[in-house]
Amino acid sequence: MINVEIDGKRVEIEAGRTVIEAAQLAGIYIPHFCYHKKLSIAASCRMCLVQVEKVPKPVPACATPVSDGMKVFTSSEMAVKAQQGVMEFLLINHPLDCPVCDQGGECQLQDLAVGYGATSSRYGEEKRVVLHKDIGPLVSAEEMSRCINCTRCVRFCQEIAGQMEMGQAFRGEHAEIMSFVGKTVDTELSGNMIDLCPVGALTSKPFRYTARNWELSRRKSVSPHDGLGTNLAVQVKNNRVMRVVPIENEEINECWLSDKDRFGYEGLNSGERLTRPMVKQNGKWQEVEWQVALEYAANALSQVASCAGATEVGALATPHSTLEELYLLQKLVRGLGSDNVDFRLRQADFSADGKRAGNHPHVNLPAEGEGANASSRVAGGEPRKFLPWLGMKVAEIGTSDRLLIVGSFLRKDHPLLAQRIRQAVKKGAQANLVHSADDDPLMKVANKAIVAPDAMANTLAQILKAMATEKQAATDASLKGIEVGGAAAAIARSLAGGERVAVLLGNFAQQHPQATQLQLLAQRIAELCGGKFGFLGEAANSVGGHLANALPGAEGMNAASMLAAPRKAYLLLHAEPELDCANSQQALSAMYAADLVVALSAYRHHAVDYANVLLPVAPFTETSGTFVSTEGRVQSFKGAVKPLGEARPAWKVLRVLGNLLNVAGFDHDSSEAVRDEVLGGMDIPAKLNNALQATTQPSALSPQPSGLQRVSDVPIYSADAIVRRAAALQKTRDAEEPRVAMRGDDLEKIGVSAGDRVKVTQGENSVGLVAAADDSLPPGVARVPAGHAATVGLGAMFGNVTVERA
C-alpha cells in the first residue's frame, strides 16, 4: 500500500493501480471517456488529463500508475486547461445534433461538455462525416459521425464478448469504428456496447426514436430468462416497457446484460399477448369475464377430478414462472388430490427423483456441519432432498483455476456465466469441455472431448478413471473395462492439477436421457479432485421450483410420464408444451387427447387449438414475484407496469382458482405472503444439495452402437415464451431458421450436400429442414435444434433420427 495525495486528499492504495482509481477512492471525479473499469486501458480520449507534481506535462489519469508520495491535481489551472483543450478537439468533429440523438440526456459527452468544455466553439470549418454502418438488428450504428473513437466497443468485443467483431479501420482523421465488411456483430452480449458507448454512435435499434430517456421511469426487476438472476432496470413510459438496462451487481451480472435480457422486452408488448379470458364453446372461442372463465375452469377441473379421479389431472409449469406461481400451482393440484405437477419440462431422466441425498463430504454441501453423515441431514433429522444448484457462488466461477463443463451450449444457454468463465480463463484457468457439439465458447479451451450423446457417460467414466489413477485412489468396480482415451486423460490431468476446481453440468447434460448417470460421474470427478460440483440452472426458477415443491412426490407423475401417459386434464402455467417440453410431438398429442386443458398464459399461443380455457396472466414485468437464482439467491421484485388488458398476475388467478375449488390455505393477499409461506424460516443454503446417493450403472457406460443420434440445443432466442416474441431478437443470426447439421462425411453417406432440403424423421414424425455441414460434430450425430416452431414436428430432444433427401 502506498500513499497518494489527490487534490490535497490523502488516499492509501495498492501499488500498480492508476491515478483514476485512486481518485475514485478519494471520491474525486476525473472526466473520462475511454476508461472503463472492466476494460483494458486505451488512454485514447485524453479527457482524464491531470497535473502531477514534478511532471512537466499533464498526464492521463487512467494510464498513469500511482507512486508513493505522488501529488495529483485534478482541477489545477494546467489540468483544467488541458481538459478544456481536449474537449474542444473532441467537439470539432462531433455533430451538434443532440436534439435528434437518442443518447441526448444520458450522454457522457454532453454532460462533460457542459462541465469541462468552453461555452462556444471556435471551429467553423467542415466537420468530418463518417458513413453509417449496419451491424445487425440490435445495435444501431446509423450515426457514426458521432463517434469519438474511444474504442470501448472494440475492447468490449475483444475482451468481454471474446471475439473481435468491431475494429478501428483507417488512420488519423479517417479512423472509423466498424464491423468486418459485410458482417454483423453477432455476439450474444452485443447490447452492452450501447451502454458502453459514451456518445450516441451506438444506440439501441428497437428503442430508436420511441422515447427520450428523461421520460422513462426506472423500476427494478430480475431477469426471467436464465438462471443467473440478472438485475434489471425496466424503464417504463405510459404503462409500457420501453427498454431494459442493467443494474450493476458485482456478485451477479457485474455491469453487463445479455441481449436476451436487454431486448427480450419487445415480447412483452407483442401483438400475440392474451388480454381477455377466453372459453371455448362449441369449438369457438368466446371472450368472457374473469368470473365466468374461472368458474368454468374450476368446475371443469373438479369434474375431471371427481369423475375420472384426481390423478387424471396434471400440471405443467415452465421454470420461468415465479416462485409464488409455482408454489400455488402445486398447492392447487395437491389440493385436488393429484400429485402430478412438474416444472422440469425439458428434462428426460427423472431417476434422481426420490433418491436420498448422498453423504459426500466433498461435494460442497453448503452447510458445513457436524461431520459427513450429519451434513446430509437438515436440522429436523429429515433426509435432505436432492436440489440441484450451481454448487458455488456465481462469483466463485471467476476465481476457479480448473473447470470441467459437461454438456453445455455455454454461450447461448448462459451468456453471462460464459463471460465469467472467459475472464477466469484469461486469468489462467483451464477450461475443459465434454459435449456433443463443438460450438466455439470464444475462450481458450484446454482440452475437449466432443462425443456423441450416448458416449458422454463413457467419456466421463474415462475421466473419472484417469482421475483415480492421477490421484492414486481406488477405482470403482463399475469402471472396470473402461479404456481411458487421450482426451479424457488430458482432462483428468488438467483437473488434478487445480486447486479450485469446478465441475459444472450444463443444460444439455441435465436434459440428457442419462442425466443421473452423468451427474453421478461428474460428482465423483469433483469429489476426487476436491472441487466443487454444480448445475448451470436453465431458467430463472430452476432452483425455486424445487423450493416451491412444484415437482411430483413419490406417488406423482413427472413431466415426462404425464405426457407419455396422457392425462384427462392439464393445467398449463406459462407453458407452451410443444416448445417447452422435451418431447414436442408427445406433448402435443397429449394436449390434443386431453378432455380439458386450462392454459394460464401471457400469450395466445398454440393452445388455442387444444385448450378449453385461456386465462391471460401477466409476464414478469406485470406481476410481483420471486426468482431463486441458480446460486440460491432469493430475489423478489415488484411489477413494473400494470397488466395488459384484462391479464392478471398468475398468483392471483391461482389463488382464486384455489378458492373456487374449495382448497384450504388459499387466502394470501399479496405475493409476499405466498413467498413467506414458502420460504419463511427456510434455511435455503442448507436445502441446496447436489449430492446424490446412487451407484453408476455399468450398462450406461458402454454406448450401444445405433443409428444417427439427435443432438438438440434450444436456440438462444427460442428458449422462453417472451424471447420467442421479441421481434428484433428474432432477426438476429442466432434466430435463423434451424438447420440439421451433420459431419460432411456423414452427409456424403446419405448422398446429401450442405444446403439441400432433407427429411428428418424421428420415430413416426418427420419434418423438412435444410442440411448443413459441420465437421466439428462427432460422427453419427445430427444436430437438430429443439424448442423451435420448425422442429416441433419431431419427438424427443435425444434419440435416433434418420435423415434422407427430401
Binding site: C98, P99, V100, E142, Y209, T210, A211, R212, W214, E215
Partner: protein, 162 residues
C-alpha cells in the same frame, strides 16, 4: 397654530378644488382608451400569443420530436408522441398544446433547437367549448402556414439578439 391652519383648509375646500383640478386636467387631456377591436395597441416582435408550428420552405415540418419543449413546459401543457418515419427521421405522431393550461411563458419557443414551435402575435382566438383550446399538430401547423410571413419577419428582427 396647526388648528388654525386646518380650520382654513376645511373652510376654503382646498382639497376639493385640488381634486377637481386633476379631474379637469384629464377631462380635457388626450384620451388613451383603445377602441378594441377597431383599434389595437402596438405589439412587440417578441409578443407571445397563439402557438404555431413552422415548416421549412420545402414544406417539410421543422419539428424533429426532440421533446425539449415538452420537458421544459412548466404548465405541462405540451403532449408529444414520437416515432420513426419511413425516411428514418424522428417525427411527432402527436403534438398537442393545451392552451387552457398554457401560461405563455415562451419557454417552448426558447428551447426549440429548430425554431419549430413559436408563439405568434395572435391573441384574438377563442373557443366555445373547453376542448376547442386543445390545439393539435394539424391546427398548429395550419397556424404556422397562415402566419409564416409574420413569424419569419419577427425572427429576422430578433435574430441579432439571440
Amino acid at each position: 397654530m396647526e388648528m388654525i391652519k386646518n380650520f382654513f383648509k376645511t373652510f376654503l375646500l382646498l382639497e376639493l378644488v385640488k381634486g377637481m383640478a386633476l379631474t379637469g386636467r384629464y377631462f380635457f387631456a388626450r384620451k388613451i382608451t383603445v377602441q378594441f377591436p377597431e383599434e389595437k395597441t402596438p405589439q412587440g416582435f417578441r409578443f407571445r400569443g397563439l402557438h404555431a408550428q413552422r415548416r421549412y420552405a420545402s414544406g417539410e415540418e421543422r419539428c424533429i420530436g426532440c421533446k425539449l419543449c415538452e420537458a421544459i413546459c412548466p404548465a405541462m401543457a405540451i403532449n408529444i408522441e414520437i416515432a420513426e418515419r419511413a425516411d428514418g427521421t424522428r417525427r411527432t405522431t402527436r403534438y398537442d398544446i393545451d392552451l387552457t393550461k398554457c401560461i405563455f411563458c415562451g419557454f417552448c419557443e426558447e428551447s426549440c433547437p429548430v425554431d419549430a414551435i413559436v408563439e405568434t402575435r395572435v391573441l384574438e382566438y377563442h373557443g366555445e367549448k373547453r376542448g376547442d383550446l386543445y390545439y393539435t399538430k394539424t391546427m398548429l401547423l395550419a397556424n404556422g402556414d397562415k402566419l409564416e410571413e409574420q413569424i419569419a419577419g419577427d425572427r429576422a428582427v430578433d435574430a441579432k439578439y439571440r
